[in-house]
């Protein structure tokens, strides 16, 4: 059993175990009475709730988290581990097709491999980092609760007349003689303190002046805000609360947004660059985007939705908007942000004509999309049947034409043409829409005799249609966000209250004309001394503020 005998103060008040200063008169209970050093005034000397003479296992866990020392260690460990996470880029900063197991070793060699193996490549969502945050959260709750309740109790029932030792062992003190009527002097003194915003309580020749008590709650309000903030972040992992994905849409395409019932179309992507005269000399000639935006249409799917539907989805337009950096499209909690773009042109379709080289007559133009082109064309007296197509034309090992990819990088089309002067069963004609391929594969030679009679050709660039750019949109949804902001706001409020206002108290008693004054603040002793010196000077006692200092800690 811990020494229980000293919990009863000489003033008759029964204090809890662990009390440093009597809750009623302020008499120091724990230490040697002969000591004259300034008192430890933290939490007004009340016992923390957790202090108990014989702790059970639950108390022990509680006490662990109740310790500020542990809290500071947790903060320090968290900040050190957070540093490690910034050595190499985190996995999360890469987009698709990223293989972390290969990337780190390939890029950074052995250190990179170790970095990956140790799990530092995803530090911030690793179990141990989250565990640290959970422990900090726990510590925030328990530390605060353990201190704020007793502190509240102590501050709401303060006694005006304090023990003399309590007063003289404050960090800011004054002692001296007062002439004349002591009650009158106290009254005058309190008038001057009132001007400084103090609330005055008197008990005969004893006085308690107090201001800005609310600032004591600042740290706890701050902690409540932080807890709310942490909980809100945790809430994001609840199903349906948060999503974060990227879509790549070429100009004119419509793509589904995975995980939702929405589709989004890139009507047109535009990018504007800085003109040379807008750039400083050393940047002239470089390409710097000034503004880029996507004219996007958001659709809701009403039928044939989802991955398993086989038919064409039925879409209903919901919203159309220009999406720009800093100006996302917002609908029903879903937000589409401009993320990036790619301005490498991709051929979409051409509108060529069929030209009879002998007569000079031309037929068409006809529309030839790169993907899923129609199979039959009728052009004047000619009929064409699309026999084969290749997205990226090439010749395979066996000499047969093959496609090297499924993207229209070097498209080729084989038509079977019938008509006047051509065989009954038709004559094949290979057509390369892109000039470079036409030359590379020597279209005329492949077509042989028919090349002298007919030609499929595009008349001018107007008849070539590129998807000039594709835009990358970032799709986000975050229900927890509101709480995140509330948490941040509350925490900020607490910080402001706790930092820019200080709880100041002045105790005073006059025993047989001898004035004893002690003052305490939780921060800013400089201001505390200035207040005391001001009131003393106005009441006829000139004193240098600095001389009031009794030494000790400068919290």
């Amino acid at each position: 059993m811990l020494a229980l005998h000293n919990t009863k103060c000489e003033c008759g008040h029964q204090n809890a175990v662990g009390t440093v200063l009597c809750e009623s008169c302020g008499k120091p209970l724990m230490e040697d009475m002969e000591n004259d050093a300034p008192l430890e005034m933290r939490y007004d000397g009340v016992a923390r709730r957790s202090q108990k003479s014989n702790p059970n296992p639950i108390d022990k866990i509680w006490n662990f988290f109740s310790s500020v020392k542990i809290a500071v260690y947790l903060i320090v460990i968290t900040l050190v581990t957070a540093m490690f996470g910034t050595i190499y880029p985190q996995e999360g900063s890469f987009l698709n097709n990223f293989k972390p197991s290969v990337y780190y070793e390939e890029t950074y060699g052995l250190p990179g491999k170790l970095y990956y193996k140790l799990g530092l490549s995803h530090t911030y969502d690793s179990w141990w980092f989250i565990t640290l945050l959970v422990m900090i959260g726990t510590s925030l709750v328990i530390c605060s609760l353990d201190r704020v309740l007793p502190l509240y109790r102590a501050l709401s029932k303060q006694q005006i007349r304090k023990h003399l030792r309590f007063i003289t062992r404050q960090k800011t003190v004054y002692a001296g003689q007062v002439e004349g009527n002591t009650d009158e002097w106290v009254k005058e003194f309190s008038v001057h303190l009132k001007k400084k915003g103090y609330k005055i309580h008197t008990d005969g020749s004893a006085l308690l002046a107090e201001k800005n008590r609310f600032s004591r709650w600042g740290p706890y309000i701050n902690h409540i805000g932080l807890i709310l903030f942490l909980l809100a972040i945790l809430g994001r992992s609840l199903p349906g609360w948060q999503m974060d994905s990227y879509v790549n849409i070429p100009d004119g395409d419509t793509v589904p947004i995975e995980g939702t019932n929405y589709y989004v179309k890139n009507e047109k992507f535009t990018v504007e660059y800085y003109k040379d005269e807008e750039l400083p000399p050393e940047l002239q000639g470089t390409i710097r985007a000034k503004k880029y935006e996507t004219n996007a249409i958001l659709y809701k799917c009403t039928d044939n939705c989802g991955d398993d539907a086989t038919g064409e989805p039925v879409l209903q337009q919901v919203k159309q908007q220009e999406i720009e950096v800093n100006h996302p499209l917002k609908h029903d909690g879903l937000k589409l942000y401009q993320f990036d773009y790619d301005v490498t042109p991709k051929l979409k379709s051409v509108s060529p004509m069929l030209v009879n080289k002998e007569t000079g007559e031309s037929y068409g133009p006809f529309e030839l999309p790169m993907k899923d082109a129609p199979l039959d064309y009728t052009l004047g007296p000619y009929k064409m049947k699309l026999a084969a197509n290749y997205m990226e034309f090439g010749i395979g090992e066996d000499g047969e034409p093959v496609t090297l990819s499924r993207d229209p990088n070097a498209p080729a089309f084989i038509f079977l043409i019938t008509g006047p002067g051509l065989p009954e069963k038709g004559q094949p004609y290979i057509y390369f829409p892109m000039q470079k391929d036409k030359e590379k594969f020597d279209q005329d030679k492949l077509n042989a005799s028919i090349a002298d009679k007919l030609e499929i050709k595009v008349d001018g660039m107007d008849n070539v249609h590129f998807a000039e750019a594709s835009t990358y949109l970032n799709v986000r949804k975050d229900k927890a966000l509101t709480y995140v902001w509330y948490g941040a706001a509350i925490s900020m409020l607490g910080l402001l209250l706790g930092s820019y206002w200080q709880h100041r108290r002045i105790w005073l008693r006059i025993d047989d004309g001898r004035l004893s004054l002690g003052a305490h603040t939780n921060k800013n002793w400089y201001g505390m001394r200035a207040d005391v010196a001001y009131a003393l000077r106005k009441s006829g006692i000139a004193v240098e503020p600095k001389s009031l200092d009794n030494g000790g800690n400068n919290a």
């Binding site: 989250i130 991955d307 290749y390 093959v402």
Partner: protein, 175 residues
Amino acid sequence: MGKYRKTVQIVILLAVLVVGGYAIGNTLFAAKEEGIPKIGEQPPEFTLADLQGNTHNLSDYKGKAVVINFWGSFCPPCVKEMPEFERQFEKWKDSGLEILAINLSEDTLTVNNFVRRFDLSYPILRDVNRKTEHKYGLESYPTTFFVKPDGTISDVFVGGMTEKDIDSRVNQLLQ
């Protein structure tokens, strides 16, 4: 207040345990879906149309030995292995083997020409906008999944397969 202390302590510690456990558990068990389905797992469900427009659900094939093959005409090993699959299909189809060859979102003409060229008789399914491909997390082609009648994967093969490769795996699948 003092007499409730114990209750308060227990309530708060329990709350911490639940909330914190949830947070930590999330990071431990929300293992990222990386890569393709593995042996012993169930392959993701899909509903796709074949060249005739009939829809096929993977779940329709439950109770049968199924080979799911992803292919494209642009991938030479795919082109090479397709006839070998055809011969294997002829060999095993009476024993109940099903082959679902999923094309990697190419256009109709390309697929039709390809099928005609090799005279394939097993169903060719058409993926659209690379959806199924993404669902399976494919990174290279061809990729073939061997699915047992109980609906779990018995083997995964990434890359072109020879007839011998296919034969031994189908043999195992049908036992």
